[in-house]
């Protein structure tokens, strides 16, 4: 469990228990980018439970594929994930706090405590080509055949979809 989920779990668990849905830790708050329908299930043709207005504040509970289960007011239902933006909630939600607390953003503190340096200006300024490293990286290459066998082991199958057009 990452620090984010751990903290989110600690904070969000109570609410989820209260609502009887211990599916996962809550994901924090979000805002709808467009008018949406809260659906009973994460499918476009699922039954509509209630409408939700553009700009409505929601609590994001869990993701399933391209869908978020959200709580809007007293109603709970599924909306398209990409209809929700969580940015506005960043500074106040568990996720936001956890992001800062975990220090992943490469502050000076991280450098001194973990020994993993941020890729900053000083580093790039003094960067020189490393034959040793690039050769090592190239040694890690795998063949297409091996990669496809690996995919097969994970039950991944190629799907015939069309490229997304530029808007």
């Amino acid at each position: 469990m990452t620090p984010v989920t751990r903290l989110a779990a600690a904070i969000g668990l109570g609410a989820l228990l209260a609502s009887g849905q211990l599916l996962a830790a809550g994901l924090g708050n979000g805002t709808l980018t467009r008018a949406e329908s809260l659906r009973e299930k994460p499918f476009a043709d699922a039954k509509v439970l209630a409408p939700a207005a553009a700009g409505a504040k929601v609590e994001v509970l869990v993701r399933e594929g391209g869908w978020y289960q959200v709580k809007a007011g007293t109603k709970t239902g599924w909306v398209r994930m990409l209809s929700v933006r969580r940015s506005a909630a960043a500074t106040t939600t568990a996720a936001g706090i956890a992001g800062v607390a975990s220090g992943r953003t490469g502050t000076g503190k991280v450098v001194s405590t973990t020994g993993v340096r941020g890729l900053d200006s000083a580093e790039l300024a003094t960067a020189t080509f490393s034959e040793e490293q690039i050769a090592k990286a190239e040694k890690n290459r795998v063949s297409r055949k091996d990669a496809e066998a690996f995919a097969k082991a994970g039950k991944l199958t190629v799907r015939d979809v069309k490229a997304l057009p530029a808007p």
Binding site: S87, G99, G106, V110, V116, V158, R159
Partner: protein
């Protein structure tokens, strides 16, 4: 018949190649450009790139593109070496190579890796070099998210975003300085440095990021992964918001929220009919613990190419 554009190309590569097309725009471009320019003054007599001829228009042969990319990638690794974990590196190569196999340039010599830095980012270099940082990898929750991130970078490579950027910059510098032509194409680093700032102001190209996002979503979906892996990562970045080091980045690159909106627009319900993809959370390889602090990080970095700090053989 090798021309002396080596320095120019190497310089452009060093200053624009990797970071300009990073995943989340999570490095401040201006800052690095300045660094790159500073670096150029020093680099003139020490370049170690092989001579490469990149045409002003059209696609260079894959082999030349790969040489360019190797130079870029080698420099990146000079700054941030591979995470010392053979299992992790093999895993990332398998996922990446499989996704690349579903893309338009399935048979490049694709090379993937996780590099040792807390900075959240991913890098692509021409010819098929793709790296994710430890910081970004740590945010991933499943294989589909990794696939989505790698697919985005594969998109940059396949669309030849770096190559086009370099061609554009070369065109600008060639047009600006007639002396260069007199010298028979022997562009100097000094000439390039003189043009650096304006070129970058011009090539701050958000469109490439949106392109790569669309390609990434497409490749990952095609490969059988959850369509929303990349979006989930962007959504997570969006939710975490601006923090210290990300402030400047957010100013110079598309915001995660804007990228989500663009993905939303491009995707719509297009893949709704596709059978849901896999996320494979259990397969996501674990990161090893971060290395212990080094006594003199600055010195260690400066000697990256001689590998005083990172000569750990694969297990």
């Amino acid at each position: 018949m090798k021309t002396r554009i080596t320095l120019l190309v190497a310089a452009l590569v060093a200053s624009s190649g990797c970071h300009a097309l990073d995943l989340g725009g999570l490095v401040d471009k201006k800052m690095i450009d300045q660094v790159a320019r500073d670096k150029l003054g020093v680099k003139t007599d020490t370049t170690n790139s092989s001579d490469v001829l990149i045409p002003l228009t059209g696609n260079p042969p894959d082999a030349d593109e790969e040489k360019l990319g190797r130079e870029i990638a080698g420099r990146l690794l000079g700054a941030a070496p591979l995470v010392n974990d053979a299992k992790l590196q093999a895993y990332v190569n398998k996922v990446g190579r499989y996704v690349a196999a579903q893309s338009s340039r399935a048979d490049l010599n694709w090379t993937f890796g996780v590099i040792e830095t807390d900075t959240v980012n991913a890098f692509a270099a021409p010819g098929g070099y793709v790296f994710v940082t430890r910081g970004l990898y740590a945010l991933l929750k499943n294989e589909a998210e990794l696939a989505g991130v790698l697919a985005h970078e594969i998109g940059h490579v396949n669309a030849r975003h770096h190559v086009k950027l370099m061609q554009k910059q070369r065109a600008v510098s060639a047009g600006k300085d007639l002396l260069l032509k007199k010298a028979g194409g022997g562009e100097t680093v000094q000439a390039l440095v003189g043009n650096g700032a304006e070129i970058y102001a011009r090539t701050l190209d958000k469109a490439s990021e949106y392109d790569a996002d669309r390609l990434g979503v497409y490749y990952a979906t095609r490969a059988g992964y959850d369509t929303y892996g990349l979006a989930a990562v962007l959504d997570r970045l969006d939710a975490e918001g601006e923090t210290d080091k990300l402030t400047l980045l957010y100013k110079t690159h598309p915001l995660p929220a804007d990228r989500l909106t663009a993905i939303d627009k491009a995707l719509g319900d297009r893949y709704d009919a596709v059978k849901p993809g896999l996320t494979l959370p259990a397969r996501l390889a674990k990161l090893p613990p971060a290395p212990k602090p080094v006594a003199t990080p600055a010195a260690a970095t400066a000697t990256g190419s001689t590998a005083t700090t990172t000569t750990t053989p694969a297990k």
